[in-house]
Symmetry: C2
Amino acid sequence: MKHITSAKNPQVKEWKKLLTKKERDKTETFLIEGIHLVEEALKADKVLEIIISEQSHFIQKINFGDTPVTTVTEEIIKTLSDTESPQGVFAVCEQEKINLNEITGKTFLLLDAVQDPGNLGTMIRTADAAGVDVVVVGQGSVDHYNPKVLRSAQGSHFHLPVLKGDLSEWVEKLKDEGTPVYGTALENGQVYTETTPSPTFALLVGNEGNGVNKELLDQTTKNLYIPIHGKSESLNVAVAAGILLYYLRA
Amino acid sequence: MKHITSAKNPQVKEWKKLLTKKERDKTETFLIEGIHLVEEALKADKVLEIIISEQSHFIQKINFGDTPVTTVTEEIIKTLSDTESPQGVFAVCEQEKINLNEITGKTFLLLDAVQDPGNLGTMIRTADAAGVDVVVVGQGSVDHYNPKVLRSAQGSHFHLPVLKGDLSEWVEKLKDEGTPVYGTALENGQVYTETTPSPTFALLVGNEGNGVNKELLDQTTKNLYIPIHGKSESLNVAVAAGILLYYLRA
């Protein structure tokens, strides 16, 4: 087991760089934090290495298998952490490498320009819970390997494929394969309860302020909306996605 | 129009104190921030006074009626703000004073020990959207006049009564009046889709980590759960509340 005591150690600097999207994209890896996420990543066989506080009681508790483990000081833990009270355990994981031709599924969640990390993570978690097969994150969305997204998703990144993609191409591809694609809109849509649940569908939800891009809405099979019965202007996008995913699945 | 230039002005200190629950409870007021919330509060006639940046372009745009307005420096705005890029407008509002005997409604959302401000605010917003008549916030929950809760709720505090209450008493009262009370549980519950939607119901949801208090679950008419079809352990509480509220309403 390697041990590092200086925050200036080049290895520590490499890990810290993974807090930026640029470095995550370059290395095709990402950093996760906390015992729950690390355990989920180990189960999914996605862990390249573990970083753990020399003071952590998790050292004894977790079965790291033959994954390389480095113990570090509390000072280094604080440098790497995105939270106020770090649990003292991190893992470097490999990003999902997906061959698009191998992607098969019956249900899809397509996310257009979702910008709040909590919303994106919550929707990945909700998609997982609702049994969705694939999540596609479109351009203009926050990076789904952002630490806050990972935390909100509570490990669901390791349960289903989450990939970046061109949503316009995805909508066409899905329609060609016979999968109905339902956009979400406040206007010119159909009340969602008028759609019959089915074992195959794709749901497309959009940006917190502006909704789904209009050109994408023109491409969909049809567009749905959730009625507002009170005086609020809209629903939170993650709540809306939850209502629709649970309704639409047969 | 009053004008204050020093952050040490006693009036500024009074406003700043409203960022604490203690002071909000004592004065039965609360502070809201941002143009959307201030407009909603003005519409609901809940505003005691307005605080606005001397540089704000909203001064000309908003009809403040005869509400007292104080202009302040950008330095004071930053002192009061809970956000990174303040919009430069605040209002002191009066808390809802509710006579419990006057509370009538057909649909209720009861919140047990919800601790994340974003979740609490999102559920108040969702309840509003779903046409819920009353939200009751139980002990152990974050203060619903917390700035982050207010922000997440996007003005729904001004659309329906949100009150603190003893949930055990509320469950008994509602059952006595013939309103079915549905708890939410992961175990010993019924799949929610087996319950028939009805125009009158109360939904009880709970703490992010521990769910609803067991004693409360023993008091309910029955307890529901949302099936997990994938590999996630649970749903976010605000997403779960959205799915159930939209399902249960007739």
